[in-house]
Amino acid sequence: MDVFFNLTLNGLATGMLIFLLAAGLTLIFGLMDVLNFAHGGLFAWGAYSGTWLYATTGSFIIGILGAVVTGLILGLITERVIIKPVYGNHVQQILITLGLMLVLSELLKVVWGPNQLSATAPDFLKGSFEVGGVIIIKYRLFIIAVGLLVFFAVQYVLKNTKIGLVVRAGVMNKEMVQALGINIKKVFMLVFMVGSGMAALSGVLLGPYSGVIHAEMGMEFAILAFIVVVIGGMGSFPGSILAAILVGLSGSFMAYYVPDLALAANMLLMAIVLIFRPQGLFGWKG
């Protein structure tokens, strides 16, 4: 029972981190029809800038804020410089964002050196507590809370605010949104920035969770996020949280019981989805 509970909690925490990454990917894809292969790079930049700020200032909150700001700024630059010229051309988008991924992860090594950075949870999130004989690690709970918070916040914005309405309308009919007097390009930019900010947040939260961060993990996590996006249905926001939790849980349980097959399990899941529902569990795009 104890093991089961812990694995679940662990899986949920990982799932939330993946969700934060995949959600940005899926928002960008849904609205702009752009699959950003540099998303993992933004994640890694969030991780490094946040962890570094955290280490220098001693404040985890500043670290998180710094990471998000880094994500927003990089997102802005990426959208303006890299994505804008290749809207509508899938092959070029795929190629160019991968190139950016390359540059981002190498630049990371230039700025912070090739070695990994370590991070620990801040005091108020250190340690664990016990509920009914089950030990709960505080930091994991924290990640789950943040993930849920972001999910509901984004969901709220999408459902209940004007800008959210515009975003949803834009997914359905860009032309009409413009004909109603809304500058969709600005909305695009904003969505891209928010998506990048979420990726960066995911990155900085990962630090204390796994203890160390390194430059390659951008790609590792991006692959998980891609799997999630395919399973959840490209462009579906609720789909991405469900699929992320699924991938997180399967990862955590497989790692415990059949460690060698952990990644294979996700691939299998994705293959099955692709065979039977190529549009993904919640997908509405072909």
């Binding site: 010229p85 795929i94 190629l95 190139g99 790609m219 891609f226 994705m270 692709l274 065979i275 072909g286």
Partner: protein, 341 residues
């Protein structure tokens, strides 16, 4: 009238091109006999191997319009197959050939399955799935220690005929030429033309009565098998294999070489391979001068982004365009003169 004339000009052009290629091939064959720099010879051997790899990638990206981010897995399968056979059994030619057969089988099956799963969907899916599959193979190579020795990899001995550097140089050169001729034939065959049609306009190809998915799968299988072959040569050249053959860097090499050289041209892939390998070599040397050159990928990355943005047809494609335009200008001018006269 004009059409026939143009055609004649074109066939002369083709002939001249063939002569140039032949001269370059002869020079490359003679090179090791004139130059005794061992490191140069090794570098050229690498170029040939990666040229094969890049050409196999070009078949996908340049001729069929498919983006793969997992090309390293085919390369790695070949590299490991030959390593494992040479290590576990004996470094003899029959076992080597067996490794080649196994490589062909595995790469064909994997590319077939991945293709079947995603090639009927948008281009994103194939890119993502190949990326994911490649990382799966990387993990497999790390975890299956009894066979692969994990991250550290292992050394092995090779059959007699591969041991001499000069012989191996020639084998790789000939292999590259053969693959080039083969792919040239393949892309100019009726089937190859259909692949290019798919790249240009998938829906239209379908409505002409071709079943697009089958063609895409054929392209991905041929490409996968050739990439596996390049992997075989690569690990034989090093007499060593480790998990690096499955990493993204290998795929990126193919991508950079094809794009910078010029997609859809084959010869561009060879030029790209030469360029990248040499640049790689020199920049690593430069790392002694300044540490920033250790991060040479940054420069490559930036150049690559600029090429995708401004010269999507690469070196060969851009040169051809310029040539085409200047030729057109000449004919325009002569026509004007004719009209004036």
């Amino acid at each position: 009238m004009g059409g026939r004339g143009e055609k004649k000009v074109k066939s002369i052009f083709v002939q001249r091109k063939n002569i140039v290629y032949t001269i370059i091939a002869i020079l490359l064959i003679l090179f090791p006999f004139m130059n005794d720099s061992r490191s140069m010879m090794i570098l050229f051997t690498q170029v040939f191997i990666f040229a094969i790899f890049a050409m196999s990638y070009d078949l996908l990206l340049g001729f069929t319009g498919i983006v793969s981010f997992g090309h390293a897995m085919f390369f790695g399968i070949g590299a490991y197959a030959v390593g494992i056979f040479m290590k576990q059994f004996e470094p003899t030619l029959p076992y080597f050939l067996l490794a080649v057969v196994i490589t062909i089988l595995i790469t064909a099956i994997v590319s077939y399955v991945v293709g079947l799963l995603t090639l009927r969907l948008k281009s994103h899916f194939y890119a993502m799935l190949t990326l994911a599959f490649a990382s799966l193979f990387l993990v497999l190579a790390e975890k299956w220690r009894t066979l692969t020795h994990g991250n550290d990899g292992f050394t092995f001995r090779t059959p007699e005929i591969f041991r001499d550097r000069l012989d191996f140089y020639l084998i790789c050169l000939v292999s590259m030429i053969v693959v080039f001729l083969l792919l040239n034939r393949f892309t100019n065959s009726p089937l190859g033309k259909v692949l290019q049609a798919i790249r240009e306009n998938e829906q239209r190809t379908e409505s002409l009565g071709y079943s697009v998915i089958q063609y895409k799968i054929i392209a991905s299988v041929v490409s996968g098998v050739l990439a596996g072959f390049a992997g075989i040569l690569y690990s034989v050249s090093l007499r060593f294999v480790n998990t690096s053959v499955f990493t993204m860097d290998i795929t990126l090499d193919a991508l950079l070489m094809t794009i910078i050289g010029g997609v859809g041209t084959l010869i561009g892939a060879i030029i790209g391979a030469g360029l990248i390998e040499f640049a790689h070599h020199w920049l690593t040397e430069l790392a002694k001068v300044h540490w920033i050159f250790e991060r040479w990928i940054i420069f490559f990355g930036i150049i690559y982004i600029l090429v995708v943005m401004f010269f999507p047809r690469g070196i060969v494609g851009t040169v051809r365009n310029i040539k085409l335009k200047s030729k057109k200008r000449v004919t325009d001018k002569s026509e004007q003169q004719k009209a004036a006269g």
